[in-house]
Symmetry: C2
Subunit: 572 residues, 2 copies
């Protein structure tokens, strides 16, 4: 390989970040944090690993397969944890399952998931049990649930403030940052009846499509635990794909609910901006509005995503609690018929060519959709490089001031992908406000161009890879272009599972690839990482994107695609 990661580190020299002496003073706290996590793994839910975890990773161990094949749960526990959300809520409301039994089943599955994928930051099952008991008593006493999520065990990305608990967003400097209140989204979910018991893993700085951090290390894809779970909602991807919660609360400013869903093997929605509250989510980018993060759910099916969105928005009315949320009820949109759909397919964004498994995933999906009557056209990417440059400029437009502050306060070591991120845009050199305004104007022109593409060509949705590759090896995911395009456009985007998995026997570069001329150093860096034998069994998830505020339509169309592909939920 002629191109190295280090070659890209030219715009930020990292002066004033790492400080081993200062960091030393944080180490006892970090150790205590990890100890606390480990102590909260309850023996009654834990398994004995068949081999030490490092060996399992080296084996490309498939944790989902193991869970089912070894029957690590009882039949009843499988029944409960494999139920979809609306059904589970109904069964709890009718008293078929108690909230306590439901929580116990999920706690067990979540514990196993954590043992195999390192998905958790914090586990607090006893608190979940208390809450579940309260809910059971409430139902018994009042004859009704407290809301549509009554008794549903929901997992939370760590960076959402949780009353009375530390909220650090994987910044070591925030290790003493105890939240006085729940973040708005957690409060809404609690108001609607959710049960909390686990907070999940995320990368340093929250700005990797991967997971490494100085708290607990990275989370892994359950289908091949040698690979990354994706990020930044890493732990949610791994946990939800293992069935360890009914749904997870992630957040996404560059792919962070989508890459974990795609890489770990579940479904997700990156909603349009401001439909779901991010108030009380800790991150370095507060007040940065050129490109905003969104909160979105990860779940095992689009039915679950739909149920989460509908309950949250229509019963939770987030605009009544958070000034930043739009007053936009969740509309009931029926599944469209295949013949009424026109889908444009982006086979390659021109920045990094998709690897063989992604090419196969797209091709087989398109073939099935066409056969079912969906009208397919090819989407020639519009200004994909410009979009990527723009969003990278926006992320770091403040010259990394806010990230540096949070990182340097502890002097923690920078992970490889934090260094990568800090080199986006102009790196340590700030834009001026006037220049930032010009970036915003360029973004709006791009959004308008895409809107007109949809309208003028009567395109309903755009189908695209979530990444050029399936789940990457840890710390080996550099190119964000396939996900960031939809952030800069604010397109509601789902990740769905094709039901296909990487197969080293099939998913090899074809012969013509040996003459392939890399279009950029970035492409070379990414594609030389693809060695078929190293990605065995990685799930192949794709994206479907719609026009801004067409969230309901995208989810509904995703269900139709699920019907066509025969994949409503992914199990091995």
């Amino acid at each position: 390989m002629s191109v190295t990661f280090e070659k890209f580190l030219v715009k930020e020299d990292f002066e004033g970040y790492e400080d081993p002496v200062k960091y030393e003073t944080f180490k006892p706290k970090l150790e205590k944090y990890v100890q606390n996590l480990n102590e909260n793994i309850k023996p009654e839910y834990a398994i004995t690993l068949p081999k030490p975890i490092e060996e399992l990773r080296a084996d490309q161990f498939n944790a989902v397969d193991y869970l089912y094949k070894e029957k690590l749960l009882t039949e009843k526990e499988f029944e409960i944890t494999d139920c979809n959300n609306p059904e589970l809520a109904e069964k709890i409301s009718k008293g078929e399952y108690s909230s306590v039994d439901v929580l116990k089943a999920f706690a067990k599955r979540a514990t196993i998931a954590h043992q195999l994928t390192n998905c958790a930051m914090e586990i607090f099952i006893d608190e979940g049990l208390e809450r579940a008991k309260y809910l059971d008593e409430y139902l018994a006493k009042n004859g009704k649930t407290i809301g549509p999520l009554h008794g549903l065990p929901i997992s939370l990305k760590e960076h959402y403030k949780y009353k009375g608990k530390v909220c650090h967003a994987s910044f070591v400097s925030l290790i003493d940052n105890v939240a006085e209140d729940h973040s708005t989204t957690i409060q809404i979910l609690e108001n609607l009846g959710a049960v909390f018991y686990i907070r999940t893993n995320q990368p340093q700085c929250l700005m990797h499509l991967c997971s490494e951090n100085n708290y607990v290390g990275g989370a892994r894809s359950p289908y091949n635990i040698s690979l990354s779970a994706g990020g930044s909602s890493s732990g949610e991807g791994a946990l939800v794909s293992m069935g360890g919660s009914v749904a997870g609360v992630g957040s996404d400013i560059g792919g962070s609910v989508r890459s974990p869903a795609a890489f770990s093997g579940c479904f997700s929605l990156r909603p349009s901006n401001k439909r779901i509250s991010l108030a009380g989510a800790v991150a370095s980018g507060s007040g940065q509005e050129s490109i905003v993060a969104v909160c979105g759910p990860l779940a095992r099916s689009l039915e679950d995503v739909d149920y989460w969105m509908k309950s949250y928005i229509n019963d939770g009315e987030p605009w009544e609690l958070d000034q930043d949320c739009v007053r936009m009820p969740w509309r009931d949109v029926p599944k469209p018929a295949a013949k009424d759909l026109t889908i444009a397919v982006m086979y390659d964004d021109g920045i990094v060519k998709p690897t063989p498994p992604i090419q196969r995933g797209l091709k087989e999906t398109v073939a099935k959709l066409e056969k079912a009557g969906v009208k397919i056209v090819e989407f020639k990417p519009i200004k994909a490089q410009e979009a990527l440059d723009l969003i990278n400029d926006m992320y770091t437009a403040d010259g990394n001031v806010s990230s540096k502050k949070l990182l340097s306060q502890s002097g923690e070591p920078l992970t490889k992908l934090t260094k990568w991120y800090l080199n986006y845009g102009r790196g340590k050199k700030s834009f001026t406000i006037y220049e930032n305004h010009q970036l915003n104007v360029a973004r709006d022109l791009l959004r308008q161009e895409y809107l007109e593409y949809f309208n003028n060509n009567k395109i309903d949705f755009i189908l695209s890879p979530t990444s050029s590759n399936v789940a990457p090896k840890p710390e080996e995911v550099f190119n964000w272009s396939y996900t960031t395009l939809w952030n800069i456009l604010d397109s509601p985007t789902i990740v769905f599972q094709t039901g296909l998995f990487q197969d080293p026997k099939i998913d090899k570069w074809d012969d013509s690839f040996k003459d392939y001329k890399y279009r950029s150093d970035l492409e070379e860096l990414e594609l030389t990482n693809y060695k078929p034998e190293e990605f065995i069994g990685a799930p192949i998830g794709l994206q479907l994107s719609g026009k801004r505020y067409y969230d309901e339509e995208v989810v509904a169309a995703g269900k139709t695609i699920g019907d066509i592909l025969g994949v409503k939920i992914l199990k091995n």
Copy 2:
């Protein structure tokens, strides 16, 4: 008076702005522009002024009174132009009035309005007539209208791009800026059947609550043409209050649809952000998102405002044409009963004390509302000074780079209130992007505090002055705090008319005022300008504000207030 306007000019030295030599090259074009305006005043619609305009101004002439008393229109023309929007649309759709007759009646009334108030930038009645003829033919041929605004003559603030016409936003440097397309809002209104024939006056830089510019000078309040029409949708305020259009399209980033409505004598709505498209509106602040401008209607009644909003949003679906608009249909909200309303009243924002007519307007309005059963509580302003400082910082956060560019390209003379505006925030000193992010965070905290005030105190709406005074003398309006508060909060806010007018016999400072200690130089600057005998007959308009996205509720409550006050439409 110890405090002078000049005392405030400390943060911008205006170096590099004015350039008499360069400006000289623009003068022939400016002269041609004015000549074109004057030539398009059609003799058949014009009146002979009773005195030269300067003398009428010195007389504090009441143009509305004159229009009715002198019967400057025929009975039929009054009938047409005094009809409310939904009725007028219905009558046109039934063939009771032709679009041509309607346009002619409004063209006459608009022409008179312009002669007396200087409200127009551009008049193009022949084009309107062509369009009206087309609409009449369409209706005759198809037996139906082309949309809910079929045949309604709507006026347009000049800064909205109009296909084939110059769009300058009162920047002399843009005098050759011919638009290739309509702005989105104009396109939507046209799609719905509107007829265009007049574009209206606005101040230099668009950032005055007044009207002076180097194109055609300032517009005046029709109820007392010695006074300012307000701004920046100055011409809309004057024209609509004179009944010269069924509704006007304004825009508001600091009070610009509200001050003209209040000062000139009509109604308006500053909608929540992004419900109405501003795409294709020319201004210096492109890409500035900390505090965004909104497009909003001015009209003679809230029924008209409601009809405009409902037609525009529900039939126009702006989110399909402009990527920036929220997909939020206009909800049907019935008029609330008085007894179901709780209104908090801000008698004084603590920055500039309201003058006697405003005090009287509030007091009499509150008395009538209470008598009708409305629950009234006092609103103690929350962080009003902080809000004002914040928004002023945001306006000029780029160090005036964008404004300077547009102003210096022609070297045009700076008006007094442009100088005032350029001294906001840090004036010529830019903020950093990181600092700008902190301003955004502070703004969001403020919004949250107000949202919680509404919710925790079960307040439906806040009633407040639109300004500390009635219509000011031209170039004498400095304090924006009463309007900008609702911009920074993004509160939907209507201006309604109390039906009261300034009366120099009543509206004097009471005796205690002689001992009043000005709380700031700004307050002194404003209040020493109030001399009762100089504001005769100025209308007293107030604001009603609601929670973000409660636009429909604010308009509905305004109608209830109109019923209570007996003021649905203002005529002398």
